[in-house]
């Protein structure tokens, strides 16, 4: 069996495409910026994202390889072989999968190697990596099945490749079927039961692809000519049953991503006020320490500062709005949450404004102050990679304003704080 497997791997049509697959993997890894490096869950998700492209690629490749016997007119000889047909099909599907998994592993190794120096203790999270593997096996199994059953050698690979891509894009997102993950914040993790359901689905689809031949109906004589003899019969029945069970179990297994419980000792900066982070996000500690230094430059009577700022997910869910979150590694995004926390501590509690104009003035003043605080905390204006912000606020102007002399800025801030505090309540 291993000799046949080795022959299949050596003669697979994918053998010249392995460098292309590895290049694709690396392009996906490093094409989305470097912010995931040094955070283990983000690195795991970054290593898993190439599977979104490996799935359709391997589906098309498996459809093309599986159509080999139809292309060369060899189907009758294969059915008349001494060993069961499913061993030959298994060798073929395995050879296709070997190339995909090799390219995937190369990406995993690179992601781990690049992150190991910056990240703390721990390693890549296996949940995300297994999810990627399940996706690859699922798509390759579907491709093999279509390639085996389809009469047209052209339509099979095109439909598999494009169809898998479209299906994944339409229904595979984390909020829907959950076949891939796009973000690996330390507060979320892959739940094991949904992951096991997806792995089972992938395995059963591959089993059906390997054991089930195309049903051939004949008008006269026996109706199912390609029904396998002996053990093949039970193999087909078993794999179809497994597929039915895993498809039925998939919706009931729950959402793929769950929230993680907060660690007892989050990593905090040694400043006052403190910034506390998830232990996996420890690479942001120097940036936040610098931020605390810039916060200390402001006059102490200007704002009332909370003693500690927490990253999202470390506290109870009702604190989510004001906890900070460095989305995609952007510290500007984190400062938005920090600024909201400072404003909440420095201004009276929210009450419904008496008139809509007063309410508009209050929200624009708040937006201005949030953007000003973000700019002062990061030491620069909004970076070009970030977009959006509070409505009605001229963000580039504030980015230039922070370089004005200090007394002018403080007067502007005090005037805005007065506007907010003097908003008449209904």
């Amino acid at each position: 069996m291993t000799r046949v497997l080795w022959i299949e791997i050596r003669r697979s049509p994918l053998r010249w495409w392995l460098p292309v697959l590895v290049a694709l993997d690396l392009a996906v890894l490093f094409g989305r910026g470097q912010w995931w490096i040094g955070i283990w869950p983000q690195a795991s998700v970054a290593a898993q994202i190439p599977c979104f492209y490996f799935g359709p690629a391997l589906a098309a490749a498996a459809a093309w390889s599986a159509g080999r016997s139809t292309r060369t007119g060899f189907t009758e000889q294969l059915s008349a072989g001494a060993r069961a047909r499913h061993w030959a099909e298994f060798a073929q599907l395995a050879s296709t999968l070997v190339f995909g998994v090799l390219a995937y592993l190369a990406g995993i190794v690179v992601a781990a190697a690049v992150s190991a120096s910056e990240a703390g203790p721990g390693f890549l999270w296996p949940g995300y990596l297994l999810l990627g593997l399940a996706l690859v096996v699922l798509c390759a199994g579907i491709g093999h099945l279509v390639g085996r059953w389809s009469r047209s050698q052209f339509a099979g690979p095109v439909i598999c490749g494009l169809g898998c891509l479209v299906a994944l894009g339409w229904y595979g997102a984390p909020s829907q079927l959950g076949l891939f993950a796009l973000n690996g914040h330390p507060a979320t993790t892959v739940a094991w039961l949904p992951l096991a359901a997806r792995v089972a689905l992938a395995g059963s689809v591959a089993a059906v692809a390997v054991t089930a031949a195309r049903p051939v109906l004949r008008r006269a004589g026996r109706s199912w000519r390609s029904w396998p003899r002996g053990s093949g019969r039970y193999a087909v029945l078993g794999s179809v049953l497994a597929l039915a069970v895993s498809v039925a179990a998939l919706p009931g297994s729950g959402r793929l991503l769950t929230t993680r419980s907060a660690p007892p000792n989050p990593v905090c900066t040694q400043t006052s006020p403190r910034f506390c982070l998830w232990p996996e996000d420890r690479k942001y500690v120097p940036g936040l320490t610098a931020m605390a230094g810039r916060l200390a430059e402001l006059p102490p009577d200007l704002f009332r500062l909370p003693p500690t700022f927490y990253e999202q997910g470390l506290r109870r869910p009702d604190r989510q709005a004001i906890d900070f979150y460095p989305r995609e590694g952007s510290l500007w995004e984190a400062t938005q949450g920090i600024a909201i926390g400072i404003l909440q501590a420095s201004t009276p509690a929210y009450c419904k404004p008496a008139t809509p104009e007063a309410g508009m003035r209050q929200s624009v003043a708040e937006g201005d102050l949030i953007v000003w605080l973000s700019a002062r905390l990061t030491g620069a204006g909004q970076p070009s990679t970030d977009h959006g912000g509070p409505p009605g606020v001229d963000i580039p102007a504030i980015g230039r304003f922070i370089h004005e002399p200090e007394p002018a800025q403080l007067a502007w801030v005090r005037e805005h704080l007065r506007t907010i505090r003097e908003t008449p309540c209904a």
């Binding site: 694709l24 392009a27 996906v28 094409g31 989305r32 910026g33 994202i49 979104f52 492209y53 359709p56 098309a60 093309w64 047209s152 050698q153 052209f154 339509a155 690979p157 095109v158 490749g161 494009l162 891509l165 479209v166 894009g169 339409w170 997102a173 891939f180 796009l182 973000n183 995609e328 070009s384 990679t385 970030d386 977009h387």
Partner: protein, 211 residues
């Protein structure tokens, strides 16, 4: 048309999968009209991490692969030794197939969306047809879908610059008024035409040795 010429055309069409071509074109047009507005969420290297792409932007790949794939035939070795008239047919038939797919795509898009998007779809189809012809000539006409499908990766993952805008070469995202993408269309059409015309008897002698 004299009877033997009609006979030659009919048999050429049969060898070159004309029924599959027509069925495929009708099916793809129907899919474009019915499911074209389906939003696909694809990962992206841009600032937002994911990009939402309507299905109709990637559908011309199937049209291109189908129309170029008809160049494949089981009688390929016989056709290589054919005379002038079948060779004219061998070029005219894919030209008609490509023209048909261009018309159907443009019409379907113009009906369902607007004229600007129809022009952009036709431009994308021209680029992908050229790529399909290059892919078919190098890898075999049954694999003409390979290069167009590979381009989906840079068009979705690498097309967003750091500030969120589409790059100049993203022919699916740029509107019909952008000139550089039309330059790409002309280049791709030229390459595709060269790939189809570069038959063994037209290849210069040094290149023939490499083939």
């Amino acid at each position: 048309m004299p009877k033997d010429r009609l006979w030659a055309v009919r048999h050429h069409l049969r060898a070159h999968h004309v029924r599959a071509l027509l069925t495929g074109l009708v099916l793809l047009t129907a899919v474009d009209v019915l499911f074209g507005s389906l939003d696909l969420v694809l990962p992206s290297g841009g600032p937002s991490g994911a990009v939402s792409v309507p299905f109709r932007q990637e559908l011309p790949i199937a049209f291109a692969a189908l129309s170029v794939g008809t160049l494949h035939s089981a009688m390929a070795t016989w056709e290589e030794a054919a005379a002038v008239r079948p060779n004219r047919l061998a070029l005219g038939y894919p030209a008609v197939a490509v023209a048909l797919s261009l018309i159907l795509t443009g019409a379907a898009e113009a009906v369902v969306t607007d004229a600007g998007q129809a022009c952009a779809a036709v431009r994308a189809l021209v680029i992908w047809t050229g790529l399909a012809a290059v892919s078919g000539r190098t890898l075999g006409w049954r694999l003409s879908w390979l290069l167009p499908l590979v381009t989906v990766f840079p068009l979705t993952y690498l097309a967003q610059a750091a500030d969120g805008r589409d790059r100049w070469w993203d022919w699916t995202g740029q509107p019909a008024t952008q000139l550089p993408c039309w330059g790409l269309a002309v280049l791709s059409a030229g390459l595709g035409l060269a790939a189809v015309l570069l038959t063994p008897w037209r290849t210069p002698r040094p290149l023939r040795r490499w083939r």
